[in-house]
Amino acid sequence: MDRYVCIHGHFYQPPRENPWIEAVEIQDSAYPYHDWNERITTECYAPNSASRILDAENYIMSIVNNYDKISFNFGPTLLSWMEANAPEPYQAILEADRQSVRQRAGHGNAMAQCYNHIIMPLASTRDKRTQIIWGIRDFEYRFKRYPEGMWLPETAVDIETLDILAEFNIKFTVLSPHQASKVRRIGVGKWKDVSGGQIDPTRAYLYRLPSNRKINIFFYDGQISRSIAFEEKLLNRGEDFLARLSP
């Protein structure tokens, strides 16, 4: 049986530009880089665009673009900074999406994101719509296609947000397993309680909205995501990561 691993990378930096001069000012804490955008780009976003495949002695056998192999989303405010200030990784990200569209029957790896990093359930209806419309427009401007998925900041969600996503023909989003309460097979009446993060994250779910619209939801694997974020050495070697993923 073929088995698949689905990885999503969420990449975001707040707008650090001084609004008077529309440029990021020097940040001494990012030394020797000019500012934190520059530093994080060098240490994280760019390395993913040219990742090393090593042999047993740690010599480089080839260099690959990770973004054409994972699902990902970049915050629009970060991409607009990268477009002007980090053109190499920026172009690699756009190219990865084009590449993935060719490889996966027209479905690109890039997901859109609400324009700012706003907690959607706390926003008014009009602000929710603005965030979603701006996120879609920004995505279209950069990736030259309509987005299929949209990332919600902190995966914060309410029914109205999902409904507006569906209204704009967004097909899916990604949520935390703790946001699911109960599930059932389509067409079967009995609900199964999955609260407390018990939902099976290895498949997709369909949510029927009160408005009769529909949206698909993927739940991330809470434990594995936490390990990646907080266990320092997990991503140092692909073999270690694979071992951690294998049940």
Partner: protein, 227 residues
């Protein structure tokens, strides 16, 4: 306003000009503190440049003047005073960074400075120097991508990497490796073919490029495919 100020200026009445400027532009005085950070920084760098040069001269004088004496102390096993190693640290770090920036790279000089630092047991300001060295190398590799046939440039890059590997400096070769990989993918096959036709220059290029790949931690047989 313009005419008024110009005519006053032409009369040479300075007090009146100041009064007119106050009238037209208001009484608030702006200073360095009001500038945006980057501009503020670049002006301050000009201002402190002179003082820093004075520091450099003073330290250099102290260091060079006392080096023989301190060398003697060291040889006889008497602890070298902190004031001396402070001057040495400042002067040598300053000199090594300058030497790295210099073109063409004076390999012997940089090596000699690194050895002097080791001898006096003063630390290399590696964050600064790494950044400077890396940016210089990246610039050279970028140039090589645009003119891959430039054998002298290839040799210069090889020399620099050899040098940086011989001093206690951990350079982040990430971008340099990317550029190497791109050049390998785009040009190595052609060069190898020309070298196979007995062209000496091309075969020198192939050998040097191979050795550079080894220095940059590439698995040469996977990366430099001949077909």
């Amino acid at each position: 306003m313009k005419n008024e100020i110009i005519s006053t200026f032409e009369r040479g009445d300075l007090a009146d000009i100041v009064r007119l400027m106050d009238n037209h532009f208001g009484m608030h005085n702006y200073s360095l503190v009001d500038l945006f950070k980057d501009q503020q920084r670049s002006i301050l760098n000009i201002l402190i440049g002179k003082s820093l040069r004075e520091f450099e001269e003073a330290y250099r004088h102290l260091y060079e003047h006392n080096r023989v004496l301190m060398g003697f102390l060291k040889e006889t096993g008497i602890p070298v005073k902190k004031a001396f190693s402070a001057a040495a640290e400042f002067v040598l770090n300053w000199s090594i960074e300058k030497a790295v920036l210099q073109e063409p790279t004076d390999v012997n000089r940089i090596q000699q400075l690194a050895e002097e630092m080791k001898a006096w047991n003063v630390p290399l300001d590696s964050v600064d120097l790494e950044f400077t060295a890396r940016q210089k190398l990246e610039g050279f590799m970028g140039r090589l991508l645009n003119e891959p046939f430039n054998y002298d440039l290839l040799i210069e890059i090889q020399k620099m990497i050899e040098l940086f590997k011989s001093i206690p400096l951990e350079i982040n070769y990430w971008r340099i490796q990317n550029l190497y990989y791109t050049i390998a993918r785009s040009y190595f096959r052609d060069f190898h073919k020309i070298a196979g036709e007995g062209k000496e220059k091309a075969s020198q290029w192939v050998d040097t490029f191979r050795s550079l790949g080894g220095m940059l931690s590439f698995n040469i047989s996977s990366v430099l495919t001949e077909n």
